[in-house]
Subunit: 262 residues, 2 copies
């Protein structure tokens, strides 16, 4: 496989960095090609700026969504963004590896999403008809690619279970897994979450490294999170609400968007 790892941590001696090295080594041992976008090392520009769109006239009103699509189609994006889009085209699997800062990814990685996922490149494609509301949520530019999160979390695992005070980690990651990744079409694999990173020692690190290697063993055949396909019949068009009675007994909240029959 061709694996792109989008990685964000400012410290080379960090746990996140060490686990990234574990992943790279394991993937290469298994015969995969690996490219790493090390956002801190690249001094990645985090904020979208009007200057990101080379054909944008600074005296006219900027519409970030539309202007990113116009610039994309005109070949008028900046070199740094174009290079990342090319890596995305190349990859068949994309790993996002980051420390879980304030219940989300670090700003520098959020800025990678904001800037690289241009309109018309990552979304805003496909026909709109009575039975098809664009190519999104399970369809779209990245349909044949897989994506997954590897994240390091300071707190205990119990804080992020179904009854944990922080909220079930699957719900906390839903805006990323379903919103950022599934929306433009990625097949999203279950996230690999490392807990209690604050109290890591050599022994616990080795355990986590083993778990990560095991997790990556069946990367090619691992089953995706069974999010429902927008245009597959489960949702009312154009409201995009789940049809009554579609969910399985006991499914509530964000879980209704999982097709448990799959």
């Amino acid at each position: 496989m061709k694996v792109l790892i989008v990685y964000a941590h400012p410290e080379k001696q960090s746990l996140t960095h060490s686990l990234k090295e574990v992943a790279v080594q394991k993937l290469k041992e298994d015969g995969h090609e690996v490219i790493v976008s090390d956002l801190y090392a690249m001094k990645w520009q985090a904020s979208i700026e009007p200057t990101d769109f080379l054909n944008h006239d600074e005296d006219t009103r900027l519409n970030v969504m539309l202007d990113s699509g116009i610039a994309y189609e005109a070949g008028a994006l900046t070199e740094d963004v174009l290079a990342e889009q090319e890596k995305l085209r190349w990859a068949d699997t994309v790993i996002f590896q980051f420390p879980f800062w304030w219940f989300h990814m670090p700003a520098i990685m959020k800025g990678w999403i904001d800037r690289v996922f241009s309109f018309k490149f990552a979304y805003g494609v496909g026909e709109h008809t009575a039975t098809h509301y664009g190519d999104q949520y399970g369809e779209g530019p990245f349909t044949n690619k897989r994506a997954l999160i590897i994240t390091t979390i300071g707190g205990h695992k119990s804080h992020y279970t179904e009854r944990g005070i922080g909220g079930n980690i699957d719900y906390l990651l839903f805006p990323i897994n379903h919103g950022i990744l599934y929306y433009p079409g990625f097949q999203v694999l279950p996230s690999f979450c490392v807990y209690e990173t604050i109290k890591m020692n050599n022994g616990t690190f080795n355990n986590w490294a083993d778990k990560l290697r095991n997790y990556l063993d069946d990367l090619e055949t691992k089953k995706r999170i069974p999010y429902r396909i927008q245009n597959g019949g489960d949702y009312n068009l154009l409201e995009l609400t789940l049809k009554e009675g579609t969910e399985s007994p006991g499914q509530t909240g964000l879980n209704i968007h999982l097709d448990l029959t799959k």
Copy 2:
């Protein structure tokens, strides 16, 4: 009241900017003091960098959490961060106003959180005993302050309802409202969400501006989202899991963290 608006949008002719102006004018008319942190205008640095901690030796391993606390306590944070922390001390209400990009805030605002919410300033305080697991989730440095989100969303409201494909907006905002704001102690008010921003015209804008003014009318007395208090008896210490039978009938998923008896 003393209101700090943390605002992020790169375009002065944007809807988000116009609604920010509506909010500022309304709040001032009502006699409140208002300070705006306009992150794009301030050219806010989004990414945490090792150079953010002036007493950090670049040859030693950076621990972002611990080193932010050490720098905070030593008065060794950068001027830009210190200025925002001072605004937070001053404010009794903090509004985060931003476009909903990729199911979260823009990178520049996530970076404001990452950098300004230093360890020991925003969290990592309070005693740890058998009945008290630090001051967090309802207790903490910002306990007597109120916070709320005002956000502009491109899609239809139906996409973000309980059965909407994007996920209920309350669940999508939980990582911000509960994780970023309630965790360090803010009393979190219900979010003000503007939908269908892509198709806004003068008439619909005026309607939204009216709704926003109405929303802000009772800002001082508005009831907070009734998230449970960590150390209030509802959660098992130290696992921080909700005690069995605590929730009301029908409460599931992220909603179990709401105290509906309040």
